[in-house]
């Protein structure tokens, strides 16, 4: 019995089908999540080779990237988007794969619905043709994004050939101050590590501040692991995890639950576990974070200024963002606000965001402030709690679930030069529309910016 394994080591080992002499492992995949953008070419490959999916019951599909967030009853207007969503429908029908289609209340962003349905469980290996699959690691699963060839490989063989990553521990001790959220922790971690700082590692988030987070908050952290270069992020199983999973539609029930529980409780790094790298932060030192550039590592405190640096990348970023070094973050005015994406569109995010509004309204200079729930079920829950009314009466638009302006594959996009406070995960050039300028923030920071028309330090405004 070895007692110096990390959580990652444990889940990896239990899924190893075969180890090759050249260091590659054939790893078994328990759950395969599928969406419309990265799957059509994989299904086409399967057909050309005359193969069938190895295990249909491991697959769950939904359309999220292309779907409109306005009235859907008439279908998708853009013919190219429509074709892609219809292709997913056809593939799921032809190969008998479970899908939550656009008009199903369970439809939503794939990384929201997996955990919500209990389709993503502790100890599983989970893949999806999407880099933010790391999200599901919040449940103590090994979850990572794959390319389309790998989607086809998993469809055909239920396995992937991989080289094991190194282990990194990201320890966050202390307590988060009011107004500072898990989004701020992960942005600060990325600021510290850089966008390639965790390349080649699986990151495990640990420490008192992580234990204190809800599963939703943990998902926000694991979600952005890839923004620090880590293909997967994980968090040990604890009571918070188990309470979250219990009773969900795809989760085990009865004696099967008891059996699973006994195993899941072992899903944490051993006391003597060895990490190849350790990063430490104190949550108590953190302030709300705002990105100012075109890479998530270009981030600073809300009470800071746009930094000065003579490197080419820095100058390119500031030119694209239309910002001058030395400008206080709070002086940056915004045109649009987007609350949504697989990072921050869960019920807890919407509750926190709505909680800050308190009868105030979206500022006049803000052309559009939109809230896009992560799934139909999140939307329904929020409506039952009256959150939609709070948003709408403050002047926010309340939309149908999907990826939306996180990447602007549907009609929700920034115009060139428009500046957006966004709760999503990528501020790359053109991410939200050609020429659009993205500032990544937490949901409460996005609401603060919406109400004031520029970034504000929400710590001063917390109810």
């Amino acid at each position: 019995m070895m007692e110096n394994d990390t959580l990652y080591d444990k889940v990896w080992r239990s899924h190893s089908v075969h180890e090759r002499d050249d260091g590659m492992t054939l790893l078994y995949i328990d759950r395969h999540l599928v969406h419309e953008v990265t799957s059509p070419q994989a299904f086409e490959g399967l057909r050309i080779a005359g193969r069938a999916p190895w295990r249909r019951d491991s697959i769950l599909a939904t359309a999220d990237h292309n779907v409109p967030t306005t009235d859907r009853s008439q279908g998708i207007e853009d013919p190219i988007s429509r074709r892609q969503v219809e292709t997913l429908d056809e593939n799921c029908r032809d190969f008998s794969i479970t899908q939550f289609p656009m008009l199903d209340v369970r439809q939503g962003i794939v990384h929201v619905i997996g955990p919500e349905q209990g389709a993503s469980l502790p100890g599983m290996t989970i893949v999806c043709g999407d880099s933010h699959t790391s999200t599901h690691g919040a449940l103590g699963a090994l979850a990572f994004g794959i390319g389309t060839s790998e989607v086809e490989h998993v469809l055909a063989t239920q396995c992937l050939l991989l080289k094991k990553s190194k282990n990194m521990q990201i320890r966050v001790d202390g307590r988060l101050p009011p107004g500072v959220t898990s989004k701020d922790i992960i942005l600060a971690v990325i600021g510290r590590l850089g966008t390639a700082g965790a390349t080649g590692y699986t990151a495990e988030y640990a420490g008192a501040a992580i234990r204190a987070l809800s599963v939703e908050g943990r998902m926000t952290m694991c979600n952005m692991s890839i923004e620090a270069g880590a293909r997967a992020g994980m968090i040990a199983v604890d009571d918070t995890t188990l309470e979250y999973v219990a009773g969900r539609p795809f989760a085990p029930q009865g004696t099967m639950w008891d059996q699973a529980l006994a195993y899941w409780q072992t899903l944490k790094s051993d006391a003597g576990a060895k990490f190849d790298a350790v990063v430490q932060l104190d949550a108590g030192d953190l302030k709300p974070q705002v990105t100012w550039g075109t890479s998530p590592e270009m981030v600073t405190d809300v009470d800071g200024v746009v930094p000065q640096d003579d490197s080419v990348d820095h100058r390119n970023a500031l030119q694209y963002m239309g910002l001058q070094p030395g400008t206080p973050i709070e002086a940056i005015e915004i045109d649009k606000v987007f609350i949504g994406s697989c990072t921050n569109s869960r019920i807890e995010d919407l509750r926190e965001a709505a909680g800050l509004i308190q009868d105030r309204s979206v500022a006049d200079n803000v052309k559009l402030a939109m809230v896009v729930p992560g799934s139909g079920l999140v939307k329904r829950q929020a409506e039952e709690e009256g959150l939609d009314r709070i948003f709408k009466s403050a002047g926010f638009e309340w939309r149908e679930p999907g990826c939306s302006m996180c990447l602007g594959m549907n009609a929700d996009q920034l115009e060139p030069g428009e500046r957006c406070a966004s709760t999503s995960n990528r501020n790359f050039e053109g991410r939200q529309g050609k020429g659009g300028r993205t500032h990544l923030v937490s949901p409460v920071m996005a609401v603060g910016a919406a109400l004031h028309g520029h970034f504000v330090d929400v710590r001063k405004w917390m109810p």
Partner: protein, 212 residues
């Protein structure tokens, strides 16, 4: 997959770090359900001055003459030269498809993002990681003589530059083997079909909740 052995070619220098896959191919082109035809949208936001969509003819769009891809000196280059952390961000394999479709067969960088790297191997695009100083030297060589040809030799794992400069690179034995032979990984994996089945029956006992 087309095997990769040895290549003699000019290089296209793109002097940037952290080039993300959104920059390699923007979101609107991911709506295609095909694997081909992405070359004309490679680096779309940088090479064209006006926005485009899948149903527009790129020939009608204004190009930016300052962007390297639009400069005659680098037409026909089969190697892309970039700085660190190339291919970060989204997992979209369309990034690799667009590089290949444009005519690139290899990318030289001082580091790559993980998913981009594995996508490259699966499509026969060779990602070559060199030391930052070596990459810098290649940038200087191209700046001096854009027409200079380098040689990429996968068997020997070297890049030959000007004046007898030779840079060696690492690659896993597995990926080298697959690239040299143009192997399909699915076929390789299915050789272990019995092992996968054996693993499944073992897991049905140990973790029955994973097999409802």
């Amino acid at each position: 997959m087309r095997p990769f052995t040895r290549l003699e070619t000019t290089m296209m220098p793109l002097d940037r770090s952290n080039v993300d896959t959104d920059a390699i191919i923007p979101q609107q082109y991911l709506k295609s359900v095909k694997r081909t035809g992405f070359g004309k949208y490679l680096f779309d936001n940088w090479r064209y001055l006006d926005p485009g969509t899948l149903d527009m003819d790129p020939g009608q769009r204004r190009t930016d003459p300052d962007f390297v891809l639009n400069q005659d000196a680098f037409a026909g280059a089969e190697v892309l030269l970039v700085r660190e952390n190339f291919g970060c961000g989204s997992s979209r394999e369309h990034a690799v498809w667009s590089l290949l479709d444009h005519g690139f067969r290899a990318v030289i960088a001082s580091s790559f993002a993980d998913i981009f790297c594995s996508n490259s191997y699966k499509n026969g695009l060779l990602p070559i990681t060199l030391q930052a100083e070596e990459v810098n030297e290649l940038f200087e060589q191209v700046a001096q003589d854009p027409a200079f040809s380098c040689v990429l030799d996968l068997e020997k794992q070297v890049v030959r530059g000007i004046n007898g400069r030779v840079f060696s690179f690492e690659i896993s034995a597995f990926h080298k083997h697959c690239l040299l032979n143009g192997f399909d990984e699915i076929d390789l994996t299915l050789q272990h079909e019995d092992k996968i089945r054996a693993y499944e029956s073992q897991m049905k006992q140990a973790f029955p909740w994973l097999f409802p």
